[in-house]
């Protein structure tokens, strides 16, 4: 490896016209053939088309490390409106933190993070904490590190799950465990009070009123207003998300968003729920509906990475198991290709100047946020 002289290093935001340099850096140096980041259109969506990007920069929300105008490292941040019990705050997700080996000298990697934090007064930050290095830095700047992103899992086809994991023949104990999680789901009495339908987009929904008046006051986390949902789920140039919409005689009662993911080079599929935004009784109705869809589609299992433990007693009634407190559920989460030895995602977060443990109980943060929802 030829190390670079780092004396004349420059840290600056990356311009939209430099986007191909970013995708080349990912594809050639970091994660060859990564499904997302070799594609400029995904980078543009993530770091330029963000609904509040222009409040922060004219360029991309992506800090670059340059030497002689050649890009050697990046640190992305996705700013968003942070719902703090119904009040609007400013926050960001950290993503794609990378320094090419030629410039991994001294504190260069650290500077990528601290420059972003110093520049903007974010009141909350979240990010993937995938390496010892990133965990060390994030802890050092006062973040909480979670060893495993909390995850709800509902097995919907034991045989498919076992076969997918290549465990059918040699792990009876695991089979029995999965079988024990399949329960007779409870009857929902008020199910007929609600209409659940799949909708194509958010355009005709009077959503913001419902979100800010009915949901936002009991939780904290990225604000799921209409602008955010459209950007997150409809403008994304990869993945098709399904939107289930619940309503009753009063109007909107909630949304559930999921996508179906194929396990690469196999016949197996899983359902990834990425958002459940609904009043308590509708959460269970949604869960039941998704399980019906999964069974009809021969899906191996349904999962939902979500920090909010308030869903636990509700989803449990429909057979979901909640892995929390840093314990991972024993089925993988990366499927392109299937990585059976990876069972958990580490992540870090910080909400500034508040009681962290108290806030954690009310935090609604899901796989839809930041760059967590990715297949490899």
């Amino acid at each position: 490896m030829n190390t670079k002289n780092t004396k004349n290093i420059e840290f600056r935001e990356i311009k939209l016209k430099e986007i191909s340099a970013v995708s080349n850096l990912f594809n050639e140096k970091w994660r060859i053939n990564h499904i997302f980041y070799r594609k400029p259109e995904v980078l543009k969506w993530q770091y330029y088309e963000n609904p509040i990007r222009s409040e922060y920069t004219d360029d991309m929300t992506l800090l670059g490390v340059f030497i002689d105008d050649v890009l050697y490292g990046v640190h992305g941040y996705i700013p968003f409106i942070f719902n703090y019990y119904g009040k609007k705050r400013r926050a960001c997700h950290f993503c794609n933190w990378y320094a090419s080996p030629e410039i991994r000298r001294g504190p260069i990697g650290i500077r990528l993070t601290t420059d972003v934090l110093d520049q903007y007064n974010f009141q909350a930050c979240f990010g993937y904490a995938f390496s010892d290095f990133s965990r060390f830095i994030l802890k050092r700047i006062g973040w909480n590190i979670e060893q495993a992103f909390p995850r709800y899992v509902r097995i919907t086809n034991i045989e498919n799950t076992m076969e997918m994991l290549n465990d059918m023949a040699n792990n009876k104990k695991f089979y029995q465990y999965l079988k024990s999680t399949i329960i007779k789901t409870s009857v929902i009495n008020n199910i007929n009070n609600y209409l659940i339908e799949e909708i194509e987009n958010f355009n005709n929904l009077k959503w913001d009123n419902f979100f800010w008046n009915k949901l936002s006051k009991n939780i904290i986390g990225p604000a799921r207003d209409k602008k955010y949902l459209i950007w997150r789920y409809k403008k994304i140039p990869i993945f098709k998300y399904h939107i289930l919409y619940a309503s009753n005689h009063l109007g909107t009662a909630g949304l559930l968003i999921y996508r179906i993911e194929e396990v690469k080079n196999t016949r197996f599929k899983v359902i990834r729920i990425t958002d459940i935004l609904a009043t308590t009784e509708v959460v269970e109705i949604f869960a039941k509906r998704v399980i019906e869809i999964a069974i009809n589609e021969d899906i191996a299992f349904v999962d939902f990475f979500c920090t909010l433990s308030n869903f636990e007693p509700i989803l449990q009634k429909q057979g979901f198991i909640y892995s929390k407190n840093n314990q991972a559920y024993p089925v993988p989460f990366l499927f392109s290709p299937l990585e059976t030895d990876k069972l958990k995602m580490e992540f870090g977060w910080k909400i500034f100047d508040q009681n962290q443990s108290l806030l954690k109980q009310k935090l609604y943060y899901t796989k839809a946020d930041g760059d967590f929802d990715r297949p490899n």
């Binding site: 991994r104 001294g106 060390f136």
Partner: protein, 77 residues
């Protein structure tokens, strides 16, 4: 105190004593990578019983600069 600092560099980077001087820097010494930098911070904190602020961690670019930063924390070298 200087001896303690030199010992940290010898143990961490595998250097000979006469290779360590004020100009030794991550800009001119390839082995001083990001992880080593973090290890160096931890060792300095343990040995000198101090807590180094993030701005100083970033500013620690050479052996000479580290001496000045340690002085700020009351470590006289």
């Amino acid at each position: 105190m200087l001896d303690k600092l030199i010992k940290i560099f010898i143990e961490l980077f595998g250097l000979e004593r006469d290779e360590i001087n004020h100009d030794l820097s991550y800009h001119n010494y390839d082995q001083w990578d990001s992880l080593k930098h973090l290890n160096l911070v931890q060792r300095l904190e343990d040995v000198f019983d101090i807590e180094i602020e993030m701005d100083d961690i970033i500013a620690m670019e050479s052996f000479g600069v580290i001496i000045k930063i340690l002085n700020k924390y009351g470590v006289e070298i």
